[in-house]
Amino acid sequence: MASGSTTTAERLQHELKRLIPAVKMARRNLTRNTLRTALAALGVLIGVFAIASLGLFGNILALSASAELGGIGNQLIITPNEDAGVTGLDIRDVDAVTRAVGTDGTAVPLLTTSGLLSASGGQTFGQVYGADNPAALFTAREGTIPDRHRQGAIVGGDVAETLDLRIGSAIEVESSRYRVIAILESEELLTPVNPNSAVILPEAAFAQRSYDQIVVQAQSGESASVIAERVRTQLNSREERVSVFELSSILETIDEFFSLLNQFLLGIAGISLVVAGVSIFNVMLMSTTERRQEIGVLRAVGVQKGDVLRVLLAEAVLLGVIGGLFGALFAGLAAIGLVFIAPIGFDVVLVASNAVYLFGAFVFGVIVCLLSGLYPAYKAATLRPVEALRG
């Protein structure tokens, strides 16, 4: 018997002990009408699946987008401000930028032109960059990019393919011949300086001495914005000589878009769980109405209101747990299936934030069931036994 001096812990333990027979009874009640139970659980399954899968897909989309775009957040593009009459960046500008960058990154001044590229495999039109230190911006698929680019041509993946180039092949750029010293990795990513159809030559190959842009590769997004600030103060103090473009600003906009998209998707999925909640409500109301007499008998033979309530709520929660588990399971499988049908890697699927979506959807489903079961359970448990017995 509960006495007045029981502690909260003891009372909790007492409650939990009473929960075990309630859950057993609830399980048995659910197996009595398996079709109805299955349909109710299916409603929850669909709701949880919708929330979990849309949440997951949105998250995966955002993750893979930032994986694709992640690199550019570290880059700054510095270009001459043509509005102020500056048409090119000279060596003093480069020195100023290099000082501003310091050890936080690498400044790569680029000379830019375009021209006809030809080799024994044919010819094509392409971008030609002049850079003495391209190693900071590009990665080689074959060969190596030297720290100091003094001779030879570094060719983009597409160019190498079109002209059938290998390391050591000859390529003619605007009637000068170069040896191919490296072939670049094909970049799927969105980058400001796309190397795929470009050739990178030493600066010495260019007659022009004024740079078209300086690309700064910083170590992180934060240091990129610090550098941007320093470049602005050092070069633009007297006049707006250069424009500094921070690519991270694009990233922020994209991130905002994805989080909006995700909320939108979750909102839609939420509607389906509300529908599932209504169906649980209906099922619980039906089954408690059907079992009026039975509940009356339980009350007559001395089962307390609270215990009847516990049994009925346990039924609702069990429906939620069954439906929720399968819903989350199927959503997880669907996310893994996405890897096989979409250009998405396991690295963005098997991350903790996705597990949070699965677990969150499951918990949300169980809570919706519990709430939907509250009223029918309360109504049945508080029915006067005399009336319940009358049927």
Partner: protein, 236 residues
């Protein structure tokens, strides 16, 4: 089955009635009209007594049974179980008192369809933490002649067998009183006799049995029969 079985029921030493009603009145309000379902009922049932309550429909039999069973409270008057006044108990206390002192047997048996006979007998003890009544349930079922039907579910049992399971269920908590609402109403005559024999044995064990009935046969088994007409007792 014989009587030499040891009795586990509390034997009341004093002469206090098992249950006693004093000037019990129950009125209902329906549509502005006040109906006296019970108009001053005095009734005392001794331990081990088999009482039959008869009377025409609407005479207040069900109301009387509900008040005796602590399922309903009187408008005025007092209800005592073993000299304990239970009239003003709270809902929760009444539920506990029902569980401790009263067993119910219904016309429609009212067994839970998904449970075995033994489990059905255990239903009143289901939420008692740390109590396993299975042994006692099996013993009771054996006593009512269902020792070979312990794991059968209600749909595998005949009406008479189901009612015997219900009697075992009513006895699981060692009650003072067993209340039976038309216990033979859904049974054929022969089966009815076996059930009434069972009630007789329950009485012999010191438990009072109160049966509300239309069935004349029940009265032949009862120690005493009272007739209720318009909420007033006429001694039978």
């Amino acid at each position: 089955m014989t009587q030499e079985q040891t009795q586990t029921h509390p034997v009341v030493e004093d002469n206090a009635p098992a249950i006693e009603l004093q000037d019990v009145v129950k009125t209902y309000n329906t549509g502005g009209e006040t109906i006296d379902a019970l108009a001053g009922v005095d009734l005392a049932i001794e331990a081990g007594e088999f009482l039959a309550i008869v009377g025409p429909s609407g005479s207040g039999k069900s109301t009387l049974l509900n008040i005796l069973g602590l399922l309903d409270v009187p408008t005025s008057g007092a209800v005592r179980i073993h000299d304990r006044d239970v009239t003003t108990l709270s809902e929760r206390e009444r539920t506990t008192a029902r569980k401790e002192s009263i067993g119910f047997v219904f016309q429609d048996f009212h067994l839970l369809p998904s449970l075995t006979a033994t489990e059905n007998v255990c239903v009143p003890t289901m939420f008692d933490t740390g109590r396993d009544a299975t042994g006692r349930a099996e013993q009771l079922l054996t006593r009512v002649g269902l020792g070979d039907r312990l794991t059968h579910t209600p749909d595998e049992l005949s009406g008479g067998q189901q009612q015997r399971v219900a009697i075992a269920r009513a006895l699981i908590n060692e009650p003072t009183i067993v209340l039976a609402d038309e216990p033979t109403g859904n049974l054929d005559q022969d089966t009815g006799h076996t059930i009434l024999d069972e009630f007789r044995r329950v009485c012999d064990a010191g438990v009072s049995v109160i049966a509300v009935t239309h069935d004349e046969v029940v009265t032949t088994y009862a120690d005493r029969t009272i007739e209720l007409i318009d909420g007033v007792i006429h001694r039978g």
